[in-house]
Each structure stands twice: as structure tokens, then as C-alpha cells.
């Protein structure tokens, strides 16, 4: 058992050292080939497979004692799954955690990228349910791998086109596909389109982990990331105009839409709870 001040029955960061090393090797390969899905021997973790085990395996493999971890789900540090993942990471590492983006060295997230600009000494780990942008084109892995190899993405373009023809505008919600470094088309994980531009030419390293599907991929700092769109139907983010956070007054951020059953009120608040809280603390 390696040094672990919290739980004597388990190794530091839960996984055995050999597994962590193997996962780090897959991460290095992913960084070397931006947007390419690196298959890896995904390990089972004590949280649900499909609940963020890909992201968590990355986090547990890269984390050291000096790191400060932030875990969010849907933008919130307090969401049930974020709490559960953070608890496991702390129980098996004893590291410090934070809700503030600027204090974190590693940020694990499901469905959101924080509002604050990430720095080059921070790593953003995203949990991925469906890593394969071609899965809608073919259910078969053997086929989609070949299509990637040949950069044959017409099926994805066709899907965007069909949406426009049928509904008059693009219909993708979250997880809008992106082209990375002009080569691989990649699912950015189900982040809102609002967050897609944050992947482009960023200062931080983005790592994506799909535990159930056993894939790791990456967007290294300062990489071109272009959301797929036609020239005459340009890519657009969700409409946030005219919306104001009820709690901190922020505008131009991604919002949660809240219906208060007591007052029958309908309002908006920051999806990024750490960001919102920080603003409120600064005001006070």
C-alpha cells in the first residue's frame, strides 16, 4: 500500500500504480494525436459505470498530493454526482478540493466548462458518455474506426444538413461535434454549444475520458477546435441574451432555468455555481 493518509485499505488514488501508469500512457498518446480516441483498458471504479468513471480514471491517474481538485456536474459543485466523485477522490488521496476554478489544478466536470478562463497550469477533465461522433452514422465500432482513419465524415455533415432541411436551422443541442486540428472530428462531451468555443486555442489541457466505452482523447493547449457548421448556417451558441442571474446579476454566462413552485416564479441563475458564489462573496 502506498502512502495514503485517509484509507489504509486502498492505494493512493484507488487504482494500483500499474493501472495508473498505463492510463497516463494512453493520455500521452491522446495529447500527441489531438482529437483521436485512444482505446484503453478501462478499470472498474466504485462509482457507476456511466457516471463519470472515464473522467475519474484520468483524474486519479494524474493527480498528485499537491493538486487541488474541483469537481462539477452540470456546472454545480453540489450536484449529487459531483459530491460523490469528490468524496471518493478525497477518501483515497486526502488531497484538497475547492469550488473555485482559479484555485484548482485539476477540474473534473460533467456537461460544463467553467465560466472563468482556464490557465496553462490547469487540466480540465471531462466525463464522456458517447465518445464516438460517428455513432449516429454507424452503430459498429469496426466501421467507425475505419471512417476516422479515412477522415470520412460525410455522414456527420449529412446529419447537420438533414436537420437544416427538416427544421430550417441546425438542431444539435449539447455535444455539437467539433473538428480538432483539422483532422479528427470529435464529440466535445455533452457540454452546451455555449462552451464549445472555449476549447479553441485554449491555454489549458483538455482531457476526455469515456470509461464504459474505454476511450481517452485530448485537446492540447493552443489547438484549433472548430464547431462543425455550414457557411450559410453558421454555428450558434444557446441564446443567453436578456438573461440575468438572479443571485449574482451575471450576464453572458450559461444559465440554469429555475421554476419556483412556491412563488410560481420563473428565473435564471448561473449554471457555474462556483463562479456565481465567488461573485457574491466579492460583492459582500
Amino acid at each position: 500500500m502506498a502512502d495514503n493518509n485517509k484509507n489504509p485499505h486502498y492505494n493512493f488514488a484507488f487504482l494500483d500504480e500499474g493501472s495508473k501508469r498505463e492510463i497516463r500512457r494512453s493520455i500521452l498518446k491522446a495529447v500527441a494525436i489531438p482529437g483521436y480516441q485512444v482505446p484503453f483498458g478501462s478499470r472498474e471504479l466504485p462509482i457507476g459505470r456511466g457516471w463519470g468513471t472515464g473522467g475519474l480514471q484520468i483524474t486519479l491517474s494524474i493527480i498528485g498530493k499537491a493538486d487541488v481538485l474541483k469537481v462539477i456536474d452540470q456546472g454545480s459543485d453540489d450536484s449529487v454526482n459531483a459530491v460523490s466523485i469528490r468524496k471518493l477522490a478525497v477518501a483515497t488521496t486526502g488531497i484538497e478540493t475547492t469550488a473555485y476554478t482559479n484555485e484548482a489544478t485539476v477540474i473534473q466536470s460533467r456537461h460544463r466548462i467553467p465560466e472563468e478562463k482556464l490557465r496553462n497550469d490547469q487540466i480540465m477533465v471531462l466525463q464522456v458518455p458517447n465518445p464516438e461522433p460517428l455513432r449516429y452514422v454507424t452503430p459498429k465500432e469496426a466501421v467507425s474506426r475505419k471512417l476516422h482513419a479515412e477522415a470520412e465524415y460525410s455522414g456527420i455533415w449529412l446529419r447537420l444538413y438533414e436537420g437544416i432541411v427538416k427544421y430550417g436551422h441546425t438542431v444539435t443541442g449539447a455535444d455539437h461535434p467539433v473538428s480538432v486540428s483539422g483532422r479528427y472530428v470529435m464529440n466535445p462531451s455533452p457540454i452546451p454549444r455555449f462552451d464549445n468555443p472555449k476549447l479553441h486555442n485554449s491555454d489549458c489541457l483538455y482531457l476526455f475520458g469515456a470509461g464504459r466505452e474505454k476511450k481517452i482523447y485530448a485537446v492540447p493547449p493552443h489547438t484549433d477546435v472548430v464547431s462543425l457548421a455550414y457557411d450559410d448556417y453558421p454555428f450558434s451558441i444557446e441564446n443567453v441574451k436578456g438573461r440575468v442571474c438572479k443571485l449574482c446579476g451575471a450576464t453572458g454566462v450559461f444559465f440554469d432555468e429555475i421554476f419556483d413552485s412556491d412563488t410560481n416564479e420563473h428565473f435564471f441563475q448561473c449554471s457555474d455555481s462556483g463562479f456565481c458564489e465567488k461573485r457574491r462573496r466579492e460583492v459582500n
Binding site: 457507476g48 459530491v83 475547492t98 459498429k140 452546451p192
Partner: protein, 357 residues
């Protein structure tokens, strides 16, 4: 010191975990781990099989920990397995050396060595036995000691394979010897197409209900494999690992109870002559513990996956990627997680449509 907000979510989770313990510890009678291991053998067998970890005592502990939920117990054991370092690969086990508990063939009335029925529910009537309601510890103990006396001196069985009869007669499909190392699905992502060793490993860890349902679909008509059970054997196999310091030396590390099935199907082969040749082909299945339906199902799917066709059971990706207990239950249950960001993104598109933007 970094700041972490303790808010409603965390407290609610802690309360939920407390309530769970209240449910788990319900009732006045306690359930000992040993009792689960000894008296719920077939349940323990399913857990170790689907977890891919031969650890009956830990399986019993896992079952106690989760109110007997099969999927949860498998989950706990698999997660525990991730913390263990892989130090050795065992030597190849030869099932001819199996210390037999049960061994039958449906293909022949008489087989060399005879049919050994062993312990099975196949021949009992499934009548609810009200006698068990008030059976006594003492009475059972006496019955067991009498039975053990009566069994004393019985020989230990090991048998040749039933398929050897066909092999000797030249009726068995010829297969090329494959002595390549087995692919390890626990350390690598399943490659597609998958080598047979990876397929068999994937299926032996798969959910019993899933493989049984798929095999049943093949029997009913979605697929063409309808085999004869050439041999089904359950028994103990000795596990040895190579001794690193001296080549050729092996170390005995223990024994495992497994169920192994060889199914016979007809296998045709193109020849240079006018007609194709027909021989007996084998479908193979092997699982931890006593789980005969699963072993038979795997043997059917093993064969179906090597058969061309349009049935679900002929599709490797369909069969191999949807039966893992953790993966299926994990992804299905993740639907209970909040999805309000993605749903908000979807709503945005719907509103756009409504507003005619």
C-alpha cells in the same frame, strides 16, 4: 486552505446513506458471511462469475453489503478488483484433469466413465418445500454426517473428454492449433473483430440473463445454432502459476470450481470433391462456479459468432458490447443523474423553432 461549500446536496446524500444502512440492517436475525457463502452457493457463483474475481468470501460480503442485489454485489467486487495488481498469469488449465462433481452428455447414452449426475436441480420437482420452514440444525448435521460416511471411500473422478470419441473417429472438425497468449480483456479495450479468447472472456463475465436470452433467441430461430450438449462438466481445477526463479517449475496456488460445456453442432467444409464435407464442430463455454445455463449459452454464442448470418447472435459487436453487468446497469442508471444543462441546450433549439428564428 481551499474552500468547499457544504450545502444541501451533500447533507441530503449523507441522509440517504444513513437510510440505506437502516434498510440493510433490518430485522432481528443477523446473516453471517459464512452462511451466505455456504447456503447461497449459486448466488455467490453468479457474483464471482460476473465480477470475474474468484473470491467467494468477498462475494458473500458484497452480497451482505447490498441487501443481496446481484448487480450491486458484482459492481462492488469488480471495483475492488481494480485495486489489485496483476502479478501472474496462470498456466493453461486442462479440464481433463478436472476433479468431477457432475458430468453429463446428451449426445451419447453411454459415455466412457459413465454419466455422473452430481448435485443439480434438473431432477427435482420445484415444489415449495414447507419442510424447510422448520428444519433443525441438529437434524441436518446428523443427516450430513451420515451422508459423508456413506460417501466415504468413493473414488475421485477424472475423465477424458467426450469429444475424444469423435476425434478418434475423425468426425471432429479439424481446428488449427492456437497456442498464442490469451487476450486479456481486463487490461485492454476489446479489439474488434475480437480474438476468440477475448470473446469467451467477455461472455463468461457477462450477465447470465443476457447471454441466456441471446442464446435462446438463436435456439428459437433468430440464428441457426441448435446444438447437442456434447459434454457438460462441473468440477475442481488446480491453478498453477510459473515459478519465476526457476524455469519449468510451477507453483500450486489453489483450486477453482468451474462449469465447462462443449456443444456439438454440424460444421460443413468445402472440399475439392463434388459435395461439401460435414463434421462435428464444437461451441465452447466455461464459467466460474455452478452455472450450467450460462455455460451452455456461451457455447451456443461462441458458435453463432463464428457463423455468417443476419441474426443478432451473429453480430459480434451486438453480442459482446451489451452484456456487461456494470456497463449496462451503470449507463441505464446514469439516466437518473441531472441532465438540465443538456436539456436546456435542447430547449434552446425548440424555442428557436417556436419563435421562427
Amino acid at each position: 486552505m481551499a474552500y468547499v461549500a457544504v450545502t444541501g446536496g451533500q447533507k441530503a446524500i449523507e441522509e440517504s446513506i444513513k437510510l440505506l444502512k437502516y434498510y440493510r440492517t433490518d430485522g432481528d436475525n443477523d446473516l453471517e458471511i459464512e452462511a451466505i457463502k455456504d447456503k447461497m452457493k449459486l448466488l455467490v457463483d453468479r457474483v464471482i462469475s460476473e465480477a470475474g474475481l474468484y473470491a467467494p468470501t468477498y462475494a458473500a460480503l458484497a452480497l451482505k453489503q447490498c441487501e443481496g442485489s446481484l448487480e450491486e454485489a458484482v459492481f462492488i467486487l469488480r471495483a475492488y478488483r481494480s485495486t489489485l495488481t496483476r502479478n501472474h498469469y496462470s498456466k493453461t488449465l486442462n479440464s481433463v484433469k478436472m476433479r468431477i462433481v457432475r458430468r453429463i452428455s446428451a449426445a451419447f447414452k453411454e459415455i466412457p466413465g459413465g454419466q455422473v449426475l452430481g448435485p443439480t436441480y434438473d431432477y427435482v420437482h420445484r415444489l415449495l418445500d414447507f419442510g424447510i420452514l422448520d428444519e433443525g440444525k441438529k437434524e441436518n448435521k446428523k443427516w450430513r454426517s451420515d451422508y459423508e460416511k456413506y460417501q466415504e471411500g468413493h473414488e475421485v473422478y477424472t475423465f477424458q473428454k467426450v469429444s475424444d470419441i469423435l476425434k478418434d473417429e475423425g468426425l471432429l472438425e479439424e481446428v488449427e492449433e492456437d497456442s498464442s497468449d490469451a487476450f486479456d480483456i481486463t487490461l485492454n479495450k476489446l479489439p474488434l473483430p475480437a480474438p476468440r479468447s477475448a470473446r469467451l472472456q467477455t461472455m463468461t463475465r457477462a450477465d447470465t440473463g443476457y447471454v441466456s436470452g441471446l442464446a435462446y433467441s438463436s435456439l428459437r430461430g433468430f440464428g441457426s445454432v441448435h446444438p447437442t450438449v456434447g459434454e457438460l462438466r462441473t468440477g475442481w481445477l488446480e491453478v498453477e502459476v510459473p515459478y519465476v526463479l526457476e524455469e519449468g517449475q510451477d507453483i500450486y496456488v489453489g483450486e477453482i470450481l468451474v462449469t465447462e460445456v462443449e456443444s456439438f453442432v454440424s460444421a460443413s467444409r468445402k472440399t475439392k470433391k463434388e459435395h461439401d464435407e460435414i463434421k462435428v464442430g464444437i461451441g465452447y463455454g466455461c464459467v466460474f462456479g455452478r452455472n450450467e445455463t450460462k455455460a451452455i449459452s456461451i457455447s451456443i454464442l461462441d458458435r453463432a459468432l463464428r457463423t455468417q448470418g443476419d441474426a443478432p447472435v451473429n453480430d459480434e459487436e451486438f453480442v459482446l458490447l451489451h452484456g456487461d453487468c456494470l456497463e449496462m446497469n451503470g449507463f441505464l442508471s446514469h439516466l437518473k443523474l441531472p441532465h438540465y444543462v443538456t436539456f436546456q441546450s435542447r430547449l434552446d433549439q425548440l424555442r428557436k423553432k417556436k419563435e421562427g428564428l
